[in-house]
């Protein structure tokens, strides 16, 4: 007689009380494949934990975003935010779709060049640009977004040395009615700093001010803040036109659109509550179109979205290492991935699905990572079917920032694969090895000899 599939015995206390009026949603429907590739096969071929990127989702999300803006505004250009995910394969998918690149360091700038992005399609943001970075960007006619006066004066000096006219924009920070106000980057609008910097750039006549840039925050849940920002940038653009007779070529609204993740402390799940691309596009494009610009003079709208374009395309596959019971009776499950590679679990309630069939019985658990560190908590409270050692899970919406902000801490970083449009997995970043890690270190000769 064939034996019945075993499931750990569970007993769950039933709590009655006031329900969320929207009811609760079960999150534990098994996810056994991603874009046609079986989770079990991926783990057996590439190991666990494993990051999986869906090319199909990237392209679809990108097209959705482009459609939302281009159906509302005639000149739109996306620039892929390298810091969100600068794996070369991922960047190349965005470049194939027509995205320029937006970088914030010399490292990212050179990555974009090596990926084949022409210098004049690279937007160089950020407060840290070395002389070498600036010289390279000036020679490549990249769009340099000036962050502070020290950088502005240094570029003026470099123009004398290089005998070139750099193409620049200034980053403008402003009050858009949301808290916190991001005022550490760029020049402030309300205090007049931005206007002073614009005057300085135009009156010194050493560079071409071609754009105005802002980036009002991250995971912005209020699309109307973008309308305020666009209106303020256009106000600056009009002042430039009326005082100097110059047309600004582009308005760069930065990024900050929310992904469908659920922020910790949120009442509703992210998928139900975050604005859509259409919501953001409506706010921004309406502000631009309602301005006094004639149709011919409308500036190019640049968007540097990162998180909202790639978060949903990322999955983390993992394996249960152990189950244990905490002193207060809660169930704890230890996974083979921790906050070292899933940095975003500090601020998101990541959706986690089992990767194999289960019955409909569930239990409340804490999900811990494998690190010998108390902070290594993936989910403080989640309802999942009873899982046993060796079972697999899929963590959703992990494509943004995790594969750039991950830490080589206690364990080494795992493989990344991308599932192509035909469902075929490609290894796009190899896992780290002890040999690789040790190859970066140098132990002085006199320390090599010891007796224990």
């Amino acid at each position: 007689m064939e034996k019945i599939r075993y499931e750990r015995p569970v007993i769950k206390k039933l709590n009655t009380g006031v329900m969320n009026k929207y009811g609760t949603r079960t999150e534990y429907t098994p996810v056994t494949n991603i874009d046609g590739a079986r989770v079990k096969d991926l783990i057996s071929e590439f190991g666990s934990p494993l990051f999986v990127m869906s090319e199909q989702t990237i392209r679809k999300t990108y097209k959705d975003a482009v459609r939302a803006f281009t159906t509302r505004y005639p000149k739109v250009q996306f620039a892929w935010s390298y810091k969100t995910h600068y794996n070369n394969a991922i960047c190349s998918v965005f470049h194939q779709e027509g995205s320029w690149s937006e970088v914030v360091s010399g490292f990212e700038y050179n990555k974009a060049l090596l990926n084949g992005v022409p210098g004049n399609k690279i937007i160089f943001n950020g407060p840290d640009k070395t002389d070498d970075d600036l010289i390279l960007a000036i020679n490549n006619e990249s769009m340099i977004h000036i962050d502070h006066l020290d950088e502005l004066y240094r570029i003026i000096e470099l123009t004398d040395e290089l005998k070139k006219r750099p193409k620049v924009a200034i980053r403008v920070n402003m009050d858009t009615g949301v808290y916190p106000m991001w005022d550490r980057f760029g020049f402030n609008y309300e205090s007049g700093q931005a206007w002073d910097a614009i005057n300085k750039i135009i009156l010194t006549n050493k560079m071409d001010l071609i754009g105005l840039h802002t980036h009002i925050g991250t995971f912005m849940l209020t699309p109307s803040a973008y309308a305020v920002a666009a209106t303020k940038l256009l106000d600056l653009a009009f002042h430039i036109k009326s005082k100097f007779g110059k047309n600004i070529t582009y308005i760069d609204m930065g990024g900050g659109f929310a992904s469908r993740n659920t922020l910790k402390g949120s009442y509703l799940m992210g998928a139900d509550s975050v604005p859509t691309f259409d919501d953001y596009a409506e706010a921004i494009c309406s502000a631009l179109l309602n301005s006094e610009y004639s149709k011919e003079d409308l500036p190019l709208l640049i968007l540097e979205s990162g998180r909202s374009l790639v978060d949903e395309a990322g999955f983390l596959l993992g394996t249960v290492l152990a189950n244990k019971r905490l002193s207060d009776g809660r169930k704890a499950t230890i996974m083979d991935f921790g906050v070292n590679i899933l940095f975003t679990s500090f601020w998101y309630e990541h959706k986690i699905s089992p990767a194999q069939e289960f019955s409909h019985y569930t239990e409340d658990s804490v999900i811990y990572g494998p690190l010998c560190m108390n902070i290594d908590v993936i989910r403080e409270n989640i309802t999942l079917p009873p899982m046993k050692k060796g079972d697999n899970v899929v963590v959703h919406t992990v494509g943004a920032y995790n594969m750039t902000q991950w830490m080589q801490f206690i364990a080494m970083r795992p493989n990344i694969v991308m599932i192509d449009m035909d469902g075929k997995p490609h290894l796009i970043r190899k896992k780290e090895t002890l040999e690789y890690m040790n190859s970066l270190e140098i132990t002085p000769e006199y320390l090599k000899d010891f007796k224990l």
């Binding site: 019945i4 075993y6 007993i11």
Partner: protein, 82 residues
């Protein structure tokens, strides 16, 4: 280990403890174990019954059984008196 006499257990795995007023749900295998405990089956008898019926091994059952029994005690569905 004994299931408390006044604890009510339904066919579907709904459990009610009138002493505390708490109610619980359990999965089919949990219900089976509770029923066997209620019928005064020994741990060894329960082990044999589960291993013959379900696709699992001895050490997995052992770990899970102790955890389950501990939860029954924590929730005052069972007591450890013989």
């Amino acid at each position: 280990m004994k299931i408390k006499k006044n604890v009510a257990i339904s066919e579907s795995g709904f459990i009610f403890n009138p002493t505390t007023g708490d109610s619980f749900s359990t999965n089919p295998i949990g219900l089976e174990i509770i029923r066997m405990l209620k019928d005064d089956k020994s741990k060894d008898e329960i082990r044999k019954s589960i291993l013959s019926k379900y696709n699992t091994d001895e050490s997995t059952f052992e770990k899970d059984y102790y955890d389950f029994v501990m939860m029954l005690q924590t929730n005052q569905v069972a007591d450890d008196s013989e």
